[in-house]
């Protein structure tokens, strides 16, 4: 009905849009403008065109950060949603457990990334809980210097990221489950379909909107990830966990007059996220419509 009343539609959108344009888009535009100058600390400075972007193109640290950020995001999105889905289904099938377990799995999300980072840093230390546990189980050969070995550091951080948000993904999937029409689910049970088949042919397609939301949120969040690697490894060892956000942060606030350069990298991050998230969104939306 509202499609026939574009003015009303505009009025509905107006408050949100106004606030957003003023407090997000405008500063963003200023940030873009800064990236085209040689601003040292965020002050007004001289226009230098695309010089910062050229530096960035030739900066190995930038490309390394890009690779790290993308691979990190892929792993986190896949794992977080897989685990979230398993949890959601388990909880959906156990209504009595839902209340308590539902709150419990969301607890990690309550802690800020900074706190979680500190806690996990000590748990993952060479003499920490994880190593002790593996030793106790006789799996000593599997132990590593989790946060000090470039081969495991990034994935350790990814694991903590998943730990923090798997419960949240589960909550969204659960909402998706609750939205499913009971008749369809019950009918499938009557038909005697097995759990796996029910999942594949009925639940999975009906979860499409929840999946879209989850994947998009997880993707954007993990592409922007920053406080977790900052607290856990400070971008180390040897730069193997320096994500794009960390690189930007360093340029903007650690002095040396690289503010404008940081702004340029931030613009690139924006482009990367928009491209990735946009594509994924498009694919998932099309799928939603098909189903």
């Amino acid at each position: 009905m509202i499609e026939r009343k574009p003015l009303v539609a505009g009025a509905f959108i107006a408050p949100a849009l106004a606030l957003y344009l003023l407090l997000v888009i405008y500063p963003l535009a200023r940030g873009t403008q800064l990236s085209l100058t040689d601003s040292k600390v965020g002050n007004a400075a001289d226009f230098v065109g695309l010089a910062n972007y050229q530096t960035m193109w030739h900066d190995p640290a930038f490309w390394r950060a890009l690779g790290i950020t993308v691979s990190y995001a892929v792993v986190v999105v896949v794992l977080q949603n897989a685990i979230g889905l398993v949890l959601a289904r388990a909880l959906y099938l156990r209504p009595r457990a839902r209340r308590v377990a539902g709150v419990l799995i969301l607890m990690p999300t309550l802690m800020s990334a900074v706190m979680s980072g500190f806690v996990w840093s000590s748990l993952l230390a060479p003499n920490g809980a994880l190593t002790s546990l593996l030793d106790a189980l006789g799996l000593h050969s599997l132990t590593r210097i989790w946060l000090g070995d470039p081969h495991t550091a990034l994935w350790s951080i990814a694991a903590v990221n998943v730990w923090m948000f798997a419960g949240y993904s589960a909550a969204i999937f659960l909402a998706g489950y609750m939205n499913m029409p009971r008749e369809v689910l019950d009918a499938a049970q009557v038909d005697g379909a097995s759990g796996a088949r029910r999942f594949i042919s009925i639940e999975w397609p009906l979860l499409a909107p929840a999946l879209t939301v989850n994947v998009t949120l997880a993707l954007i969040g993990s592409l922007k990830v920053f406080d977790l690697p900052l607290v856990m490894t400070n971008g180390g060892p040897a730069g193997s966990t320096e994500t794009m956000s960390m690189l930007i942060y360093t340029m903007l606030f650690r002095g040396g007059g690289s503010f404008a350069y940081g702004a340029a990298i931030a613009m690139m991050l924006l482009v990367v996220v928009v491209v990735f998230a946009g594509t994924v969104q498009k694919v998932l939306r099309l799928r939603e419509e098909r189903l």
Binding site: M1, I2, P6, A9, F12, I13, P15, A16, Y20, L22, L23, V24, Y26, P27, R30, G31, L34, V86, L87, A90, L91, L93, A97, V103, L104, L106, T109, L110, A113, V114, M115, V119, A125, N127, W163, G167, A171, A175, M178, N179, P181, R182, E183, Q189, V190, D191, P209, T212, V213, L223, K224, F226, G262, A263, A266, L269, L270, V273, V274, A277
Partner: protein
């Protein structure tokens, strides 16, 4: 209630209690319990560490606790000015959440329904903005707030949080709006209801579980946020609880018996808000799932 029967078909629709749960379900139970335990364990660790003395923790960070003290919590309570700052956090949170939810839902309605291209572009604009890490915006935002005279005020911070979280709200709501059938709106139109009434009387209530889930997300992101209150609120008495807690990280050292209790205290009210919201979510979900 629902019991999975994966072996033979149940002769009737609807389910009944079985005297013994089949094996795959038991495995699932075990898995779920282990999963939840793993998730919760690090938090247990945080609580335990907070209850030990500093010397004990330095000596054996993961060892069996040899001490028990509430002093850490007492000290943290004082140094982060708990009472005042919790109230500050709550105020900022509730105002931001209310604005975000209302503005976001209102905007999402046409964005979900309209097929015109400008609607698509507006939607994309919202998503694009959510991709930038907030610290990129801090400097220009500060200048803007100064010019608007909103520095060191709750209103300024609330508006910033609302603006920053609108993309998520819009995103959430458009995704789930699309699931509401058009017939509902048409029925309302026939009844003579205008778009605003249709929205508030019929559509918005249907989104209750989504609103509650979104509110949960907003609570988490706003409550724990550090940088916005730190930069935009100058008066110490107006600071939020987490901003105060974080100030306990020394220039060059982190004492877990100082930081963890503060963090836990900071998170405690969140837990309460959280449990209330979860009840909303569950209630809303159960309402929505019941058959006609």
């Amino acid at each position: 209630m629902t019991n999975v029967q994966s072996t033979t078909a149940a002769p009737r629709a609807g389910v009944r209690q079985r005297p013994r749960r089949p094996l795959p379900v038991l495995i699932g139970d075990a898995g779920l319990t282990i999963g939840v335990a793993l998730i919760v364990l690090p938090l247990v660790f945080t609580v335990l560490t907070s209850l030990r003395t500093s010397a004990d923790v330095s000596d054996a960070p993961l060892g069996f606790p040899k001490s028990f003290t509430l002093d850490n919590f007492r000290a943290a309570y004082q140094s982060i000015h708990y009472g005042t700052s919790v109230v500050n956090s709550l105020v900022v949170l509730s105002l931001s959440a209310v604005i975000t939810v209302i503005a976001g839902a209102l905007a999402a309605y046409p964005l979900a329904r309209l097929t015109r291209s400008w609607a698509g572009w507006v939607y994309r604009l919202f998503i694009a903005g959510s991709t930038v890490p907030v610290f990129v915006l801090i400097a220009p935002l500060y200048l803007l707030m100064r010019d608007l005279g909103l520095l060191d005020s709750y209103l300024g911070v609330v508006l910033i949080y609302a603006a920053l979280n609108l993309p998520v709200a819009v995103f959430f709501y458009t995704s789930f709006f699309r699931q509401i059938p058009l017939e509902l709106e048409e029925a309302a139109a026939i009844d003579g209801a205008g778009p605003l009434r249709t929205f508030f009387a019929i559509l918005f209530p249907l989104l209750r579980p989504i609103t509650a889930t979104l509110a949960t997300f907003l609570t988490l992101s706003i409550w724990n946020d550090l940088i916005i209150p730190l930069v935009f609120i100058q008066t110490a008495g107006r600071r939020t609880v987490m901003a105060n807690a974080y100030s306990l990280v020394g220039t060059y050292s982190v004492d877990p018996t100082v930081l963890f209790p503060a963090a836990l205290l900071g998170v405690a009210p969140l837990l309460v808000v959280f449990i209330l919201l979860q009840r909303e979510v569950v209630e809303g979900l159960t309402m929505g799932a019941v058959k006609s």
